[in-house]
């Protein structure tokens, strides 16, 4: 049942519920501690797993002996890499030089924290004690952690099948980049370093696995967030049929921010464990395991050069990237490199570009999605260079951006890389940001502050906010020739599914497969369904727990890539519209009038011309369920509608590697003023304004929450957090004492404003905004700090700007080495 997009006119303003900040339906249970998370589930006879992890960054495993551990009272079984090698397949890896990636080390360990063995026992304490009794012998090997050094000819090799430690290399060219550089009045170059930081959800990975020996079926309860492509990947890894593998996701997940996409190696590991011991097995990842070995964002070294005219127009750019994905290239990596491919020019009219990407393996924890997936890296590079253009031309950085923006009359705008920007007005949003920030006044304040000797800086960053990944974008990681092979199945699309039913007494229930992690889907869906069915949101029950054996889902279902506000809401809106048509047709039939002459008010249908003639919603619903003979001829019994919204412009990449990598594209501008303490190097955010265009706003308060959350995630990465390793590959930040997260006390007040450019491609005109300022805040802080330090002649090329790093920059300006 595919459905007509754009049926409703975007920009409609006569909504009763859409656009209102109604109280969140989830909050009462969450705030009173009565949510239902994986750890709250009671599975009979559940046993507990503990995982032995490598203390070495790189070593050959010469022996793993479980015998002493298995003899400990209370231990019922365990597995080693040998079991994994025998009973599972490696995960599929999308790359030009893929490696074998299993759920546990089988021959070598390649990062500290890599699973080496696992034990199941009566309780977690016994399982943990048993780990101490496992005898492992390692032959240590030299480790490498720096991506630029890893590609050198004398570097230690992690995987024999990955030459030079380059798992994937693509040289992508769009437009005529050489001509752009020939025409340029000048060229600017920078080497920029973007760090590893992570998502840090309150709830870590959590899995319960149960194997039914008689049916051969495996059930995995987990806080899995999608995409559901991980379901066939897990089935394949465990060598079981997809219809024998059931994922169940409880109603509540305690945050993810991207990281829980990477739970799937553990789904396989726990699946194998429960198949081995034949009882349900539970594993809740502890915080140290999470920090050491779950997943983290890819770190990058980039060399970017831009070709610019003397008026400040950017004609093109070239980028050489070293993306460090850690020990294994784990799907959906190398998406840090390719996720933003359609919006890689940001909001600017750049026509020519080249990306030379090396995706490098090193002895660090494997990487994965982290809010702002690839875009925080991208906008850090793009926006640092825009400031460099301004500096070179002695122009105001705001002016340089205005000279390069895509103009409002150009939408839908096709980027050179194949992105189709659906709607927007970048200059208008930018002007609103300048006004909200009080840009002129802040520049004056800066002058005074500088005269007083203060290190006061103003930063600007802009970005196009891509929502809903087209499943096909990742195949840009493959050579086009591979994609052309007759056996190759092209990948594209981005679908989401919703089911709405009306019960015999007229009550509405919506079922989703969106696996939210706190985004408030229950509330938003209730709003949309109430809007379409002319009910109140309290009348709508939304169930968003998921069981892959029972729910209807698509390969791309889940909550990631800011997708719900764009495709999830579209599926819900379309399903509600279809259901509305049906109940109106039944009512018209029962009232014996034309469907156009039926009006609905206060749960009752009326004949427009003769309002005394009316019928209750429960009567209409009851007819559909209990009296099929009373339905219009040919109508299906019952009131159940399932709709899948599939984005029509999500094609597979073409032969020139062009792809519309997202469904909808929002826009954001961040502006910040900072002050740096000259003695400690500490950066203080004095003022922060943020303007967003996410199309039609469904729930302003939830959107505001996303902007605050996104901004804090970006601020964390720009000023506080970093996963650090020493040269031998030992992780230095495996506790929350060493990995410094900001608290709410570090959160600045944000002056938020919006413009709304409804998307012509979604029924409600809405776009995603779940990542929002996490993409632009790091660049904004970098630019603000660079502006503050510019009188000292110091450049900012690397994050995070911790007090240490700022102090070192200050010392270098003072002519003192540290």
């Amino acid at each position: 049942m595919s459905k007509k997009a754009g049926e409703q006119i975007p920009g409609r303003t006569d909504y009763k519920w859409i656009g209102k900040s109604i109280p969140r339906h989830e909050d009462a249970r969450l705030l009173t501690g009565r949510g239902t998370f994986v750890d709250d589930l009671n599975i009979p006879n559940v046993h507990h797993a503990a995982i032995l992890r490598s203390p070495h960054a790189h070593a050959r495993i010469s022996k793993v002996d479980l015998r002493r551990a298995l003899n400990l009272k209370g231990v019922i079984g365990g597995i080693t890499g040998a079991d994994v090698l025998e009973r599972t397949r490696p995960f599929s890896v999308v790359a030009t030089s893929p490696m074998q990636y299993y759920c546990m080390a089988t021959d070598k360990v390649r990062f500290v924290g890599e699973p080496v063995a696992a034990i199941v026992a009566r309780d977690r304490y016994i399982a943990e004690d048993a780990l101490d009794l496992i005898d492992v012998e390692y032959e240590t090997l030299p480790a490498i952690v720096d991506p630029e050094k890893a590609v050198e000819s004398d570097a230690p090799i992690l995987h024999e099948e990955v030459p030079n430690n380059i798992a994937c290399h693509r040289l992508l060219s769009y437009g005529d980049v050489d001509a752009a550089f020939d025409q340029a009045d000048f060229v600017l170059r920078e080497r920029l370093v973007f760090p590893r930081y992570t998502s840090m959800p309150l709830e870590t990975f959590a899995i319960i696995s149960s194997y039914d020996h008689f049916r051969g079926g495996l059930t995995l309860w987990s806080n899995f967030m999608g995409p559901f492509i991980m379901h066939p990947i897990t089935a394949r890894a465990l060598k079981i049929a997809e219809n024998n593998l059931r994922f169940i996701v409880p109603p509540d997940i305690g945050g993810s921010f991207g990281i829980k996409t990477s739970i799937y190696p553990y789904l396989t590991l726990l699946g194998l464990l429960s198949m081995q011991v034949d009882v349900p097995v539970k594993w809740i990842e502890d915080r140290r395991e999470h920090l050491l070995a779950s997943s983290v964002q890819t770190d990058r070294v980039s060399y970017r050069e831009v070709a610019v005219t003397k008026t400040g127009v950017v004609l093109g750019f070239r980028t050489k990237l070293y993306d460090n994905v850690g020990a294994y290239l784990r799907t959906p990596e190398p998406a840090t490199t390719f996720r933003p491919i359609g919006n890689v020019v940001g909001p600017y009219q750049v026509k020519n570009l080249q990306i030379d990407a090396d995706i490098v393996v090193t002895n660090k924890c494997p990487t994965g999605p982290n809010r702002a997936y690839g875009c925080a890296h991208l906008y850090f590079e793009q926006e640092r260079l825009m400031d460099k253009v301004a500096e070179k031309l002695k122009l105001d950085p705001a002016e340089v951006r205005l000279r390069n923006f895509i103009q409002p009359d150009e939408f839908p705008y096709t980027t050179p890389t194949g992105g189709i920007y659906d709607s927007g007005d970048y200059p208008k949003a930018f002007q609103l940001a300048l006004k909200t920030f009080g840009y002129e006044a802040m520049r004056k304040q800066q002058k005074t502050a500088r005269a007083d000797g203060r290190l006061f800086g103003i930063g600007i960053s802009t970005g196009v906010d891509p929502s809903v990944s087209n499943m096909g974008y990742l195949t840009v990681a493959l050579d086009p020739e591979v994609r052309q092979h007759p056996d190759y199945l092209p990948k594209s699309g981005a679908a989401e599914t919703a089911t709405i039913k009306i019960d015999p007494l007229g009550q509405v229930t919506v079922g989703l497969s969106s696996t939210p992690q706190g985004q408030g889907h229950e509330t938003i869906v209730a709003q949309i369904v109430a809007e379409e069915l002319e009910l109140s949101p309290e009348d709508v029950t939304v169930i968003d727990e998921c069981d892959t054996a029972k729910n209807i889902w698509s390969i791309s279902s889940g909550t990631y890539s800011s997708r719900f506000a764009s495709v999830g809401t579209s599926a819900v809106a379309n399903a509600a519209k279809t259901l509305r048509e049906k109940i109106f047709r039944i009512a018209a039939h029962l009232l014996k009038v034309d469907v156009e002459d039926v009006v609905f008010e206060d749960r009752r249908f009326y004949a427009r011309e003769t309002p005394t003639q009316s019928i209750k919603l429960s009567h209409v619903a009851g007819t559909a369920h209990w009296n099929p003979n009373g339905l219009p001829e040919g109508m299906e019994v019952g009131l159940n509608v399932t709709e899948t919204f599939s984005f029509p412009l999500a094609h597979a990449p073409d032969q020139k590697d062009r792809v519309n990598s997202s469904n909808t594209y929002g826009f954001m501008v961040d502006l910040m003023a900072v002050d740096i303490d000259p003695d400690t190097g500490q950066v203080k955010i004095l003022k922060y304004a943020s303007v967003h265009d996410a199309g039609t706003i469904i729930h302003p308060k939830i959107l505001e929450g996303q902007i605050y959350g996104g901004a804090m995630h970006g601020i964390a990465g720009a000023l506080f957090e970093q996963q650090l390793y020493d040269d031998e590959g030992q992780c230095l930040t495996a506790t929350l004492v060493d990995y410094e997260c900001p608290f709410s006390t570090e959160a600045p007040k944000i002056d938020i404003a919006h413009i709304e450019s409804p998307s012509p491609f979604t029924p409600l005109g809405s776009k995603g905004a779940g990542e929002s300022s996490s993409e632009t805040a790091p660049a904004c802080i970098a630019n603000a700090v660079a502006d503050a330090l510019s009188p000292l002649g110091v450049n900012v090329t690397e994050l995070p700007l911790t007090p240490n790093r700022c102090w070192e920059l200050l010392q270098s300006a003072r002519g003192q080495t540290t």
Binding site: H56, A57, V112, E728, Q730, C731, L732, A734, T735
Partner: protein, 152 residues
Amino acid sequence: MKLQVEHVFQVSRDVLWQVLHDQTRMADWIPGCEKLEEIEPDRFAATMKIGVGAIKGTYKGTVQIAEKQEPSQYTLAVEGSAAPGFVRGKALMKLHVEDANVTRLVIDADAQVGGLIASVGQRFVSGIAKQLTRELLANIEQSLRSKPEATA
């Protein structure tokens, strides 16, 4: 992690060398050493009890003496692993003659830790290393004093 310490002993270089290489007494001055058995010339199986903060463990491993240039210098390599992870270190031990009965011992060490100790005890590691070095020097002093016949 690199560490350099030095200490002046009121004995001749030959005596210090002898004490440092006396297999029956090495276990006395290697901090936390509970057992030391020669498995081949200059290579020993060792059991060491070391605590880093709250993480205490009994480390099993080896102690190796190499690159000997008697009586002026040699290297001492220690490695051990236990449930909390591993410790690995190599020290260049130099014995300088200051006077007939005065010898300066200079230790240039490079140590690594891994596993639980590295990930939760990182900020204690350098403190612990310094403490172990102080213990080492004190133990050697003690060794020299408790066996006065060695100085004869």
